[in-house]
Amino acid sequence: MLELKDVNVSYGAIHAIHDASLTVQDGEIVSLIGANGAGKTTILHTITGLKEATSGSIRYNDLDLRATDASKLISYGIAHVPEGRHIFPGMTVLENLEMGAYSQGKNTELLEKNKALVFERFPRLKERYRQLAGTLSGGEQQMLAMGRALMGNPKILLLDEPSMGLSPLLVKEIFSIIKYCHEMGITILLVEQNAKMALGIADRAYVLETGNITISGDAKELLADERVKKAYLGQ
C-alpha cells in the first residue's frame, strides 16, 4: 500500500503542493487528474524521490520513501514511467528493455522470461527490437517505456501521462495495456489529463487543483460529479 500523508512540496519560494494525502491500496487502479500545472507530476516525482518533499510522510508498506533514493525504488517493486516517455533514444529497443531489468543484476532466467512476456504483449517492439529507440513513433516509444518498466517485475506502476501527444486510437491501446498490467496483479497509480479515460479505468480517483487535492472518491461517482464534469469533461 502506498500512502502519502500531508505532503508539502516547494520549488524555492513557490509552494507547489499543499498537504496532499492519498492512498493506493494493493490491486487498485487509482487516477490522479488535474489541469496543467496542478502538480500531478510533482507528486509523482516526490513519491519516487526525484523531488524532495518539505514535510509530510510517504510510505510504501513499511518503507519510508522520503529516505529512499530514487534508484532503489525499482528493487522494492515500484516502477516509474516518467512523463514524456523518457526512453534511451540512442540505444536499441532491446537494450532499452534490458536496462529495465538492471536492478535484477545478472538473473538471465528472469530477464528472458520478462522479455518474452513484454514481446508477447507488445509485438511492435518485437518487430523492431534492433532499431534505435529514438526512431520509434510516439506510441511505440510509450509502449517501450511501459515495457521497460515491466522488465523490472514491479508490484506498483506509477504512470505519468501515458496518453500525452498520442492519437485517440493509440490512447485506447495504451489504456488497454494498463488494464492488462492490472490484470497481471500490478497496482497502478495513473496521472492523467485525459480525465474521461482515466476515470473510466480507475477504481478510485483524486482531483488535484493548483496543488490541493480538492475532490476524491469512487471513480465512477467522480465521472458523474458536476464539478469534475464542468472542469475537465467540458460538459
Binding site: L73, H86, I87, F88, P89, G90, Y102, E112
Partner: protein, 350 residues
C-alpha cells in the same frame, strides 16, 4: 530469436576471444613494423624525431580516450582535463626525484610512476567529482575549467612543484616501446569498461538520466566512478608526459591544452574509442608533418579542423567503432550478422 541458448552463448564467448586475439596479433605486427623501422634506422638521423612524435601520440591517445569516456560515453564536457594530467605529471615527478638515487630498476620505477600519477589524479577526480557532478552540462563544464585553473595556480605556488619555475631534471623513463604498450593496455581497459555492464549503464545516463534513475541506476555513483576512471588515465598520461619531457611547468597545463584534447575527441568522434585513437594520433602528428609550412602550420591545422567539421560534423568516426573482425569477415564474405564481439584495434595510424 530472443532466447540466448547455451550453445549460442558459448559460440559468442569463443568468437570474442578470437576477436581479442586477432586484434592483439594485429597490434603486435604493427608494433613490430615500427620497431624494425626504428631499429634499422630507416629514417636515418630523424629516427629519434619520429620516435618522439610516436611517444607524444601515445600519451595523447590515452588523454583523448580518457576524455572520450566523459564526453562521448557519459555526455558531459570537461574543459579541465589537463588539470588531471598536471596532477599526474607532478606527483609522479616528485616520486622519481625522491627515488632517483635508490637504484630501483628503471622499468619498475616507471610502473610506480604511472600508478602514483594515476592514483593521485584519480583521488583528485573523486574530490572534484563528488561536488561537481551534481551539476550538468554547461555548469559542470565551467567547474572543470575552474578546477584546472586552481590546480595551475596552486602548482605555481607550491614549493614542492617548483613554485612556478620549471621542474627539471626528471629522469627520462618514458621510451616509445614502453609507452606504446602502456597505451595499448590503457585503451583496452577503457574499451572493456565501455563494453561492460558499467559502460552500458553510463550510456543510459547519457541518454536520459531520469529514465536511468527510474530503471534503478544510481546516477551519481556511476558519474563519479566514470569521472574518477577518466581522471586516473589522464594521470597516467601525465606521468608519461613528465618522464618524457623531463622538465615540466604548471603553466603548460592551461586551458588551451585542455581545449586541444577536447578538439581531438570531437574530431575523432565522440563515443568512439577507435575514433579517439585515430583522431589523437592524427592531430598530434599533423603539426609535425606540416613543419615545412613553417609559419602557416597552425593555419593549415585550423583548416583541417574546419573541413572535418563541415563534412563530418560527428567526427571522423562518429559513434562507429572500427572492428578488425568485421573487416576480416567482410573480406571473407561471411555474414556479419553474428554479433561478433567487435574490438577496436589500437594500432592503425601513429
Amino acid at each position: 530469436m530472443f532466447k540466448c541458448g547455451r550453445s549460442n552463448r558459448m559460440k559468442k564467448i569463443e568468437s570474442k576471444k578470437v576477436a581479442y586475439l586477432l586484434n592483439f596479433i594485429a597490434i603486435c605486427i604493427f608494433f613490430g613494423i615500427l620497431m624494425i623501422l626504428f631499429k634499422k634506422e630507416v629514417f636515418g638521423s630523424r629516427t629519434s624525431y619520429f620516435q618522439g612524435i610516436c611517444t607524444t601520440a601515445c600519451y595523447t591517445i590515452i588523454m583523448v580516450a580518457s576524455l572520450n569516456l566523459l564526453t562521448g560515453f557519459m555526455g558531459e564536457f570537461s574543459l579541465g582535463h589537463a588539470g588531471f594530467m598536471s596532477v599526474g605529471a607532478f606527483s609522479s615527478a616528485i616520486l622519481t626525484n625522491y627515488l632517483a638515487e635508490s637504484g630501483i630498476p628503471s622499468f619498475v620505477l616507471f610502473l610506480m610512476c604511472l600508478l602514483v600519477g594515476g592514483i593521485a589524479a584519480g583521488i583528485t577526480g573523486i574530490a572534484v567529482g563528488v561536488p561537481a557532478l551534481r551539476l550538468r552540462g554547461d555548469y559542470l563544464c565551467i567547474v572543470t575549467v575552474a578546477f584546472a585553473e586552481i590546480i595551475r595556480v596552486a602548482f605555481c605556488n607550491f614549493k614542492i612543484t617548483g613554485g612556478g619555475k620549471t621542474m627539471s631534471g626528471i629522469t627520462r623513463l618514458s621510451n616509445f616501446y614502453w609507452v606504446f604498450w602502456v597505451m595499448v593496455i590503457c585503451v583496452t581497459i577503457m574499451y572493456m569498461y565501455v563494453r561492460s555492464r558499467y559502460g552500458r549503464t553510463v550510456m543510459a545516463i547519457r541518454e536520459d538520466y531520469i529514465a536511468a534513475s527510474a530503471s534503478g541506476i544510481n546516477v551519481t555513483y556511476y558519474k563519479v566512478l566514470t569521472f574518477t576512471i577518466s581522471a586516473f588515465f589522464a594521470g597516467i598520461a601525465g606521468a608519461i608526459y613528465a618522464h618524457y619531457m623531463t622538465a615540466i611547468i604548471p603553466t603548460n597545463f592551461n586551458f588551451n591544452y585542455s581545449a586541444e584534447f577536447l578538439t581531438e575527441v570531437i574530431i575523432g568522434g565522440t563515443g568512439s574509442l577507435t575514433g579517439s585513437v585515430i583522431g589523437a594520433a592524427f592531430l598530434s602528428a599533423l603539426p609535425e608533418l606540416m613543419r615545412q609550412f613553417s609559419n602557416y602550420r597552425m593555419l593549415a591545422y585550423s583548416i583541417v579542423l574546419v573541413l572535418v567539421m563541415i563534412f563530418k560534423p560527428s567526427g571522423i568516426f562518429g559513434t562507429y567503432e572500427f572492428s578488425l573482425v568485421r573487416v576480416i569477415n567482410r573480406l571473407l564474405g561471411k555474414s556479419t550478422t553474428g554479433s561478433t564481439a567487435s574490438k577496436k584495434t589500437v594500432q592503425e595510424v601513429e
